[in-house]
Symmetry: C2
Subunit: 764 residues, 2 copies
């Protein structure tokens, strides 16, 4: 039986208690002849609207139906929904007793909410009542089970839900089911609605907005899920009061809730301090709730809020990806999470719809290979067509300021080249990132050839893998993955930054020096971290350089350390692939291995090879179809180590990962290196060339508080003079004298190409 | 100027000396007015034919031209040729002084012959004289350079060529250039031809068939290149005498030469003892020369020779590939060589053309993504169409007998499942394989999920990678890759089979016991190796089992060792991916590593974890999107080791490869194990299920000279009784009693599925 009643029975109520009493009366006694009164009541206090209203309209459903055969991406997305739901409808609906994270029951309840959400969408598009009936039948079972459940017994330091071990998952359940309920609302009988609201939705709302009100008010991505869950169901239930709580916090004073989260969780550039892995998950509630607000209360202009912060939030996330769409592993993060995840898909489609067309968003749609099924997805699918005219993803370089005020360092991303052949260099110098933060200031990632050539380890976790510590973070996440030595940044005295103390690290951040992501052949980023180690100032300057004498862009890295006293400086570089050549004097250890150290992450790295070098350090490996060489400036007595993770790891929780490390004992030191990709190797075709680098040496002309100057030399008469300004200064020009030679340039940095031959001639 | 003269000036001559004198006279003095006489002369003694004749005809060229736009695979192949040659024609022709293997000069001369071959083909197809002119101009430079060259200075234990460090490469040069010369022959002037023949071809023929006659007569794939080079140019030069030498050996007595190679290099099933990596290279001269013979002397019926041995040779090679077209690494071999290489492409197209259509050959053409440009490639391209109707590669199980007489063991390949989802189990029990052989009898490879789940190490070589020992085999090829411990087979007393002595190993081979590659749910292979270790008999029986209670096919492995005295038996299993769970009592070593042993390859494996176990041994890892568990029968005091290659490898020449190893000290022992793929893990989507195996235990009921009986038990009441016959016997039935229980069955093996519950019931 279908109903045309537009609002639910409880729309005039705001108190949960009153509501429960009322529901009882209305649904069981009065239901059936109160329709008109309810309607009038709702019309007064609710949102004048057509249903469904929170993520798509009937008109959008019809437009999708009419365009299915014209738009391949739309059709593919629709078919995926249809196949999943049709297959689900062949099975018996199953609601297992709640179980542990990653276990069968956990996964089944996740599957259930996904299936309901999809069935709701299919009902709106097709009008086929089998889909509505499927949602109804599943909700009927939840209405029976939910009231019987107490707090989940297996919560682990989290606030327990009832279906799930933490409320977070339960909020995700509601975000999905609110959409399903919105879709079938009118189709359901008042009795159905009363049943579901009494036994499922109101108890959940109570849990999220009353019992755990502090979670909803928390400025944290978990808070966003709470706001979205409560706010989205509130729109469906036409509960203005509840909507206010979701938007302004449970005390409705703006100190918590959705708007406050939009204020504080993002930097003015839209960057989210925990990094892309975390925000891609939270983009979903941010955008789904924003879309519900926009559709129900456009006067709130939510998409314009804080100068369009939602747009910036999506772009700042999307612009961090590697050219293949995978997110760089910043802080606790997996190495494989990508832009094709559901959060970025929703956010990408809605950004395109609400903020306007963008070629790169179509390129992302190609990677996602699907659209969401509403007007936004329809628009993307229309512009995408058959994809033939969609260019590969091609973001430009970008610096994203960190901190809600934009004054807490940032993330610098340099890019050169197009699409698949894009090279990317990422340097991190922002805030710590709270509980998921790593002690990794000034670390970098180098991406080339569709691979993370110089990778970050990411988190030490086998997510959802039950035999691996229940899928939770393993002990090695703290003892290794978060430690400074797990990252491509200098470790002082074999200790982690800020002594590995999170609270201390949260109060400190990197300092932006300069960033040049322009179109030239040279791009650069430079930043300081002067309080990560007591008494040691650090500055890293990285250049991404194109040169006609070189086949691929190269990285120039100047890591400057200054102190009043001597320290041990360890410069690690992680790499994937096979070692090709070692520096002179370095050999693998033959028949005995020990870890590199005893703590701070060193205990997890086997010292597989070492030696010392007084001359140029050249180390090379190959990965994929390319060779890579690191060429470092000589410095007498430099120790070189080759390492591999896996020591002190009784359960083999760590991946086996290789690194090379230079060690210097000094007060002041400049690590000056070049990373050059070169040549070609194809084992299957047995072809190779240029296994040796073009660049032969890096020499430090001088380095002080004013500037650093190095010379890079190579075959084919390659010669670069690179000059870096080491401090902020008002004057345009920098002048410095090293070894009697004067260097002068304008701007923050300068790279002068001079053929050795020319230099010879000029000396005459 | 084009010439219609059909034969070259020297066709009446057979002696090299006479020929040189004549050439001098004719080409420099008489050329231009001897045309008719030459024509008559040639007509008498040469092969009546149209040119080109050795690999394609003018008519085929025309047919290709006419079909280019209709057949995408043909067009793509043609375009690749055209792009390569057009690009080459924009460059200055360059013939560098000969250099070392893998170096610039080496690669350049290879590029030159490829470009000439392609230009010749393009000339035949298009008639565009620019292509012919390109061949001519390049040959003119070779005609200047070649006479100036002495033996190559950088030969390394090989017979030196002049352009290359070994004659092998020079023969490949001639195989290619013979085709180019054939294509432009008529277009050239008699002076051109005289010049090229005098200065290039005749000296090369002399080198290959006179100076190094023993190479041409050698029963070895290098000999095949010599035969093909000499024979193919002989057809172009219309030199019947030379053709005879190529086919029957330089003494024309059939003791050497092409036919003798066809006799002795392949087993009656077409298997080549060195393995697919080597034969895929030699397939090229085998088929190119055969095709030249067929086209010029069809009366020789070369394709029918030895019951169609060429067909068998190709199929036996192609049928070893993994479902993705990559060759299993048998003996010295890379892990990546595949069916898309040029040799298998030529052989595949010609097999299709000469022996008839085959769906799997079209599937292979899809992997190759190209065809050769002649009538054979045209035929494949026609049947391939746009590829839409070509099914994925789907070979069935096959046993390939080894040894020229087929009596020297073999290679057993079991397959189940379709295309991408095919599981493959390969066991090797043939001959040693001479210089490239590994001491690996009874070893196996397990392929699942488009991955080598239980891999072989392959060779220790970075082919053509100059900084890695000049691209040659590294020292670790002998010290590790060839040793028994580098393979998935039992090592006795920590020594390699046949004491690691090749000559001894060449005299011994495995013994086939039974092979059942039928369509049933259970397939099996069993073989003996009774002389690999003195006083120890070995039998391995492997089953590939499908069961409705299991998601994927599983491997059952029974490795039986019998001896009069106690030995140390090491059962290693290599794997890729991440360890998930360890057997009880096994832990990784925390802070100190040592190699597993001192020699025979053990010195190269770090002992990264160990312990001992008296109960069921369960070990699991994940790889790709799947978990894998090994469940082994308990045996008190079994030592378990986890290893990783890399010890005693000063230059990091070895790949880092993981293994697990069970060790038992006993006189008689049966290693009884199951390898079960299970569940799913997708890190990017954070989805997983069934991280624990279904199979829980393997128990040995008994094992003796008659039979072995084991019981496999698992969740879901899975229970299998597996009975294996351990010796040849005339009777159909086998009867054996273990622990008072009688087992009786028909045939070589039997797997009885019994639900535990049913068994319980039957006991009542």
């Amino acid at each position: 039986m279908q109903s045309l009643v537009k609002a639910s029975p409880e729309i005039c109520m705001t108190s949960y208690i009153l509501h429960k009493v009322n529901l009882l009366i209305r649904s069981r006694i009065l239901a059936g002849f109160l329709g008109l009164g309810l309607f009038l009541c709702s019309y007064d206090s609710g949102f004048a609207k057509e249903r469904p209203s929170i993520s798509m309209s009937k008109a959008e459903g019809q437009a999708i139906r009419e365009n299915l055969d014209k738009l391949p991406l739309l059709k593919k997305s629709f078919d995926a929904y249809k196949n999943a739901v049709e297959s689900a409808m062949l099975q018996t609906i199953e609601l297992p007793p709640p179980g542990e994270a990653g276990g069968y029951a956990h996964e089944k309840h996740k599957q259930n909410y996904r299936e309901m959400q999809m069935a709701g969408v299919l009902f709106t598009i097709t009008g086929d009542e089998r889909y509505a009936d499927f949602v109804k039948r599943m909700l009927e079972q939840y209405a029976v089970m939910y009231p019987t459940l107490g707090p989940h017994p297996r919560s682990f330091k989290q606030k327990p839900g009832r279906l799930f071990h933490q409320t977070l998952n339960e909020e995700v359940w509601l975000v999905n089911v609110a959409q399903a309920y919105d879709a079938v609302y009118e189709w359901l009988t008042p009795e159905d609605r009363a049943n579901f609201e009494e036994n499922i939705f109101q108890p959940m709302i109570h849990l999220f907005s009353v019992q755990y009100a502090e979670e909803l008010d928390r400025i944290h991505n978990h808070g966003t899920w709470a706001c979205a869950a409560v706010g989205m169901i509130a729109y469906v239930l036409d509960d203005k009061e509840l909507v206010e709580k979701a938007i302004l916090g449970t005390r409705k004073n703006g100190q918590g809730g959705f708007l406050r989260q939009l204020e504080l969780l993002f930097s003015p550039d839209g960057y989210y301090m925990e990094g892309p892995y975390y925000i891609r998950y939270a983009l979903r509630p941010f955008f789904l709730f924003a879309e519900a607000i926009e559709r129900n209360e456009p006067e709130r202009k939510i998409y314009e809020y804080r100068d369009g912060i939602l747009r910036k939030a999506f772009y700042a996330t999307a612009m961090t990806v590697y050219p293949n769409g995978v997110f760089p592993a910043i802080n606790d993060a997996s190495l494989s999470m990508d832009i094709a995840d559901i959060g970025p898909t929703i956010a990408g489609n809605l950004s395109y719809y609400r903020y306007g067309a963008d070629e790169n968003l179509l390129a992302i749609a190609a990677i996602q290979d699907r659209v969401i099924l509403n007007g936004a997805g329809l628009k993307v699918a229309e512009d995408f067509g058959n994809g033939e005219n969609v260019a590969p993803l091609n973001w430009s370089s970008v610096e994203l300021r960190d901190g809600h005020d934009g004054e807490r360092g940032g993330l610098g991303i340099l890019r050169t080249g197009q699409g698949r052949e894009q090279t990317m260099l990422l340097m991190k110098y922002g805030v710590h990132g709270k509980g998921h933060g790593h002690f990794d200031k000034l670390h970098f990632i180098f991406y080339d050839q569709y691979r993370t050539v110089v990778p970050d380890y990411g988190f030490a976790r086998w997510i959802n893998m039950e035999p691996k510590f229940g899928g939770r973070y393993t002990a090695e996440n703290n003892s290794f993955a978060k430690q400074t030595i797990a990252h491509n940044t200098v470790v002082v005295d074999q200790a982690s930054q800020n002594s590995g103390k999170r609270q201390q690290a949260d109060e400190r951040w990197g300092e932006r020096h300069f960033f040049d992501g322009g179109d030239g052949d040279v791009q650069a980023v430079s930043a300081f971290a002067n309080d990560a180690y007591p008494g040691v100032d650090m500055q890293r300057t990285m250049l991404l350089v194109n040169d006609p004498l070189l086949e691929h862009p190269v990285v120039v890295d100047l890591f400057r350390l200054t102190s009043e006293s001597d320290h041990q400086y360890d410069y690690p570089l992680y790499f994937n692939g096979q070692i090709v050549t070692l520096p002179d004097g370095i050999k693998a250890h033959a028949d005995q291995l020990a870890p590199l150290g005893a703590d701070n992450g060193y205990q997890h790295i086997w010292n597989v090879g070492s030696g010392s070098s007084d001359t140029d350090i050249r180390f090379s490996w190959f990965d994929g179809n390319r060779y890579y060489s690191v060429i470092s400036a000589p410095s007498p007595g430099t120790e070189v180590f080759v390492g591999r993770t896996g020591a002190n790891d009784p359960d083999f929780n760590l991946r086996s990962q290789q690194m090379v490390m230079l060690r210097r004992n000094a007060a002041n030191h400049l690590f000056a290196s070049v990373i050059e990709p070169h040549g070609y190797f194809n084992e299957a075709r047995e072809q190779t060339r240029d296994a040796r680098s073009v660049i032969q040496s890096v020499n430090i002309e001088g380095s002080n508080e004013t500037a650093s100057v190095i010379t890079v030399r190579g075959k084919r008469d390659l010669q670069w003079q690179i000059m870096i300004r080491n401090s902020e200064t008002a004057s345009k020009k920098t002048r410095v004298v090293f070894s009697g030679k004067e260097y002068e340039w304008e701007g923050n940095y300068k790279l002068i190409r001079q053929q050795a031959a020319e230099e010879e001639m000029s000396k005459k």
